[in-house]
């Protein structure tokens, strides 16, 4: 079992450079690092004021941990990090960070996509878009 799994559900932003430095200290045998960042985007037909992300923190953390364990079993990874934010975010603010690292790139890419797909509909976060003219809870497409 991979012991380099880091999971956080937090209000604060994350810092890519410091995450990379931490990762490098623990992954000397890995040659690939895949970093996925999800960020807040503006709407097509309205101007977003802010995105409110609600979370069931404890359950979200345990659900993410579970999917990271699954990914670690499925692919031979050196490191997995998932940090998901909640609270009120503006356009371009970071929402989620997924870092996967493996000896070669294929496993890290596949694991990253697997984790993100799961995060979309199996972890208790809810997004509300508050814009100039409208506000609505986001639904999965």
């Amino acid at each position: 079992m991979l012991n380099k799994i880091i999971v956080a559900v937090q209000k604060s932003d994350f810092d890519l450079n410091s995450e990379m430095e931490t990762l490098k200290l623990k992954t000397e045998k890995a040659g690939a690092v895949v970093i996925f960042v999800g960020k807040v985007r503006d709407l097509e037909d309205d101007k977003l004021k802010y995105l409110e992300i609600e979370s069931f923190e404890e359950l979200a953390k345990s659900q993410i941990k579970e999917i990271c364990d699954d990914a670690a079993n499925k692919w031979d990874l050196e490191y997995i990090l998932v940090k998901h934010r909640f609270g009120r975010l503006k356009i371009n603010d970071n929402i989620v960070l997924v870092i996967t690292s493996s000896k070669h790139r294929k496993k890290a890419y596949e694991a990253s996509e697997f984790i993100m797909e799961y995060l979309k509909s199996n972890v208790p976060f809810w997004k509300k878009e508050v814009a100039d003219k409208t506000q609505r809870w986001v639904e999965n497409s």
Partner: protein, 85 residues
Amino acid sequence: MGKVKLKYFSRIRETIGKTSELVEIKSTNIQDLIEELQAMGEQYSVLKGRDFAVYSAIDQNIVTDVKTSIEGATEIAFFPPMTGG
């Protein structure tokens, strides 16, 4: 069955107007609990899931079967489909 803490999230929280409440319940599964809660006000009809799917978690374990037993549970959460990422 005794007292249980109910938690509501997202659209369900907005409709019911509370984030959580401590309620004395008799039901022994999710389906019966939703019926039982209807007596507390019409806002609880949101839990019937007519407009969107309603998920629940018993002591922080997500359940998909409304017949799942809630006996011995201390916390039951209700929420709409999740939209993370």
